[in-house]
Amino acid sequence: MYLTREEEKLYEGEEGWSYQVAMRILVKLGDLFEADRLISIDSAHISGVSYKTIGDAAIEFLEALSEAGAKTKVTSTANPAGIDYNHLDEMVKQPKIHERQSRIIKLYRNMGIKPILTCTPYYIRKPKEGTHLAWAESSTVIYANSILHSWTNREGGPSALAAALIGKTPNYGVHKSENREADVVIKVEADIKNEAEFGALGIHVGRILNDEIPSFEDLRHPRETQLKHLGASMASTGMISIFYPCTTCPKSSDRLERISVDTDDLKNAFESLSTSSEPPDMIYIGCPHCSFEEMKRIALRLRGRKIRNSVKLWICTSRHIRRRAENYVKMIESAGGKVLSDTCAIVTWLKEIGINVLMTNSAKTAYYAPTMNRVETVFASLDQCIEAACKE
């Protein structure tokens, strides 16, 4: 891989250990995937923030980097953490966890990463079309490539962090336009209406495609939030990092292989996401983190109603959307729901706060929660979730 004189210096360690490690990561990954050079990025989004997922091992590395003076070169945001420090009454009560989580957030902040802990950084700062990014978090990556038309590979936590410190990423994968062409047309024969059904469609498509790039036919006027759920679930069961919501989108072609998805496929995928039919202890909306529009819909459905005492309703969103949707937050809270930020169901401790059955409209959460959180799941639409949460 070609390196400029400046990049050579960083690689040789002339600017210190932290930048040398970051450069080694980028160059070796570039070699592995046959990149020709490094390219500048607009921003980085870093995963590996929750103490529940990264544990003590990562803290040691982050401490070493931070002590060696590592600082980000571009706008950098980070994924949700394991704790919402503004809602400690809702969180797991172990002082060790609180201390370690706060140390992780502080270490990232010291390196210049904004303490905006969300998987939807694009609701706060939208990168321009055609700009290169180094984003981790698979739902964020697929949203950037497919909805925002910015370009990013599916980075891991360490490679996104290395890119943030250097301000560059190796030029391979979907940074090259020839690797962004659709491979297959998905003809949707089922009638798909709400986010949950879009999520189930994504679960099915991710399972059958692995890393091919799909272009969808006959998705009628999907809303932005529906596409967000479609992408998040496709990226959970497959290695997909980009899709085209319609076959009239550029880069799609009628010469491609076509795969039909019918009502039965959708029904099977939908049903596979429920492991229980027991009444839930918690109803969870906000994976990926809610948009302003989702906050509004939830609030309007809860207007004048009350959440049952035997169930928790958690809504997760970014701090930024929480502020903007302040009136809707009040409506949700007066119905007895909790609006949390900086965290989400998957990366926090659920079993430990007494949750055994989690009901959600998020296919991604329903897919991961049985293994990541060891809870049973009930997968349903937003309307069904709200009905289940409220008193008769």
């Binding site: 070796k28 091992a57 040691e60 590395f61 891991g156 360490p158």
Partner: protein, 137 residues
């Protein structure tokens, strides 16, 4: 002595006993970061320690947090001395880089047996089998 030529991934020279697996390995959830023991279910090395071994396996799999686990093992002094893969994947590559242990890939690891004394040259991408183990595995 047998010499195998591969691709250099992370620089450094290391010598030790080989621990060879036929199965991919996930460092996150697969290796206990407190003991260095392999705990991945149904893994052919389940129960073995990676400590001070030249760890040979086809490739990694699983979460990118695995890179941090490899770092932590090495910094605690209970990690492997070097890594040999058939085909390197990003999680293990990043792990070897941050842990600063030699790594070589594109090696036919079926040539190496657990217990063999081997030398890994991460700069040249060369693996030398210096002495065969007494017993066959």
């Amino acid at each position: 002595m047998i010499e195998l030529k591969g691709r250099p991934i992370m620089s450094g020279l290391s010598r030790g006993k080989a621990l060879v697996s036929r199965k991919p390995l996930s460092f996150l959830g697969g290796v206990d970061s407190k003991t260095g023991k392999i705990i991945e279910k149904n893994h052919d090395l389940n129960g073995e320690r990676v400590t001070d071994k030249i760890l040979c396996f086809p490739h990694g799999h699983g979460s990118t947090v695995g890179s941090y686990v490899l770092y932590s093992l090495v910094k605690k002094g209970i990690g492997p001395k070097a890594i040999i893969n058939e085909i390197a994947d990003p999680v293990v590559v990043v792990g070897a880089i941050i842990a600063e242990i030699p790594m070589v890939d594109k090696i036919d690891i079926s040539q190496i047996r657990t217990g063999d004394l081997i030398e890994v040259d991460g700069d040249k991408g060369i693996v030398k089998i210096l002495a065969r183990t007494e017993h066959c595995t």
